[in-house]
Amino acid sequence: MSNPDSDPSAVDPEDFHAFVASRGTHLYRTACLLTSGDTPLAEDLVQETLSRMYARWGRRGRIENPSGYAQTVLVNAFISARRKSSTERAGVEALAGQVAVPRADLTLRVTLLDALRQLSAQDRAVLVLRYWEDRSVEDTAAALKLSPSAVRSRSMRALARVRGQLGADFVEFAES
């Protein structure tokens, strides 16, 4: 059996390190939104994503858009390996005391993440890809293996649910 680590040309560690340095924070923030602020789970998802990226890095000629590919891997890992909501809730609540952020930002974060947590994993992924990643409907559909019409309908429905969850807060955030 060949040793996959024996060929030094198979992986360019410097390039991969640069990729992690440039994209790691963005991936982590995407994971935090997907998991509604469950930072341990977000870290797990990012680690799994980057592990898969590293394993394929020597073949990166086959990856036309590494950043987009990583986001897709991350979202699919989230959908297929997510933990239950009770863990997510504890993660969000623990967050309130973990990171020093301005009170207004903290309020927005807790409120918005709580609303996201009420959504299904796929609806959450649709909103995160569309409105945080700024992906097109078609790109989102491709990443999630949905039809574009399904993405549109899920997006509208999810936004409506967020609006319902936030109520007046949504208007306040929207107008601020």
């Binding site: 992690v20 790691g24 939104l33 797990d44 799994e48 980057l50 394993a55 952020v101 927005l108 929207a174």
Partner: protein, 289 residues
């Protein structure tokens, strides 16, 4: 407000929220990615070597044997050629068991965070963690130790690989192995981090199971927030023997075919013989024990 305006403001709120999260240090992300990526490549290599045998097995019979401590719960013939046989488990340790013992074993100088309107301890028993682990029962908390903010997690695992120093160490990191007697070893990884620290301890036991402790701190340094005697007390506590004994058996698919993760993370399945392994009644709890 129009739908367009509403969407635009929602996007702005998402951005504001996302930017409040600070990512782990690049070196931590990189070192874990290298370690995990190498494991994946080894798995690919193993699968490639067994590919021909696997193809024969897939085309072969559905004969299989159950692992010790398991029983066939459901055999549901399908209209197609795909037949799944669900395997269930007796007596899985609960998330409550993990949390209660985890909390009881934490040293007195570990001050668990006060609740912020919710729970401060979380536990998952026998959940599936992505593609890198077989079975795990876990307990986790955030706390303060001598003024340092820490995250401490302990899991009892039957991984599909054993974590040893041979898996490689990232640049600037270190790994040491200590014999604990009785065939057990303690593997300690130190991850290089500029602004924080992360230490992992694996008490590897015969039979391919382990007790895994992770200690993350918000201060850089060469020593974990817990002392070595505290760490040893945590990973060698007899209470984990019950959890270790209750871990579901390794999934042994025919001819070395790797089990596939499926059902939105709810089960493993052997594509070779159709056995489907649910997550053993995984419980996820959060508590202020």
């Amino acid at each position: 407000m129009s739908l367009h305006e509403e969407s635009h403001s929602f996007a702005a709120d998402l951005h504001d929220t996302a930017l409040t999260f600070d990512a782990p240090n690049t070196e931590v992300l990189y070192s874990h990615a290298v370690t995990g990526g190498r494991r994946i490549k080894r798995r690919w290599a193993a699968q490639g070597a067994l590919g021909a045998l696997a193809a024969v097995a897939v085309a072969g019979s559905l004969a299989f044997s159950l692992a010790p401590g398991t029983r066939t719960h459901l055999a549901k013939p399908a209209a197609t050629a795909s037949v799944h046989r669900t395997v269930t488990y007796d007596g899985p340790v609960s998330g409550e068991y993990m949390l209660e013992n985890f909390k009881a074993l934490l040293p007195t100088d570990v001050k668990i965070d006060p609740p912020h309107g919710g729970a401060t301890l979380t536990g998952v028993s026998y959940a599936i963690y992505g593609t890198n682990s077989g079975w795990s029962a876990e307990a986790y908390t955030t706390a303060t130790v001598n003024g340092q903010r820490v995250g401490v997690s302990l899991s009892v695992d039957r991984p599909n690989y054993v974590s040893t120093c041979a898996l490689g160490v990232p640049r600037g990191g270190s790994c040491t192995t200590t014999s604990l007697g009785g065939g057990a070893t303690l593997v300690e990884y130190e991850w290089p981090v500029d602004m924080a620290s992360q230490f992992e301890f694996y008490r590897n036991l015969p039979g391919g199971v382990d007790v895994h402790l992770t200690v993350r701190g918000d201060r850089a340094g060469n020593h974990p927030a817990l002392t070595m005697s505290q760490i040893l007390a945590l990973v060698t506590a007899p209470v984990w023997d019950k959890a270790l004994a209750d871990l579901p058996a390794a999934i042994d698919c025919p001819s070395g075919i790797q089990p596939q993760n499926g059902g939105l993370g709810l089960y493993w399945v052997c594509t070779g013989d159709g056995r489907l392994f649910p997550n053993a009644g995984a419980t996820n709890i959060a508590t202020n024990l």
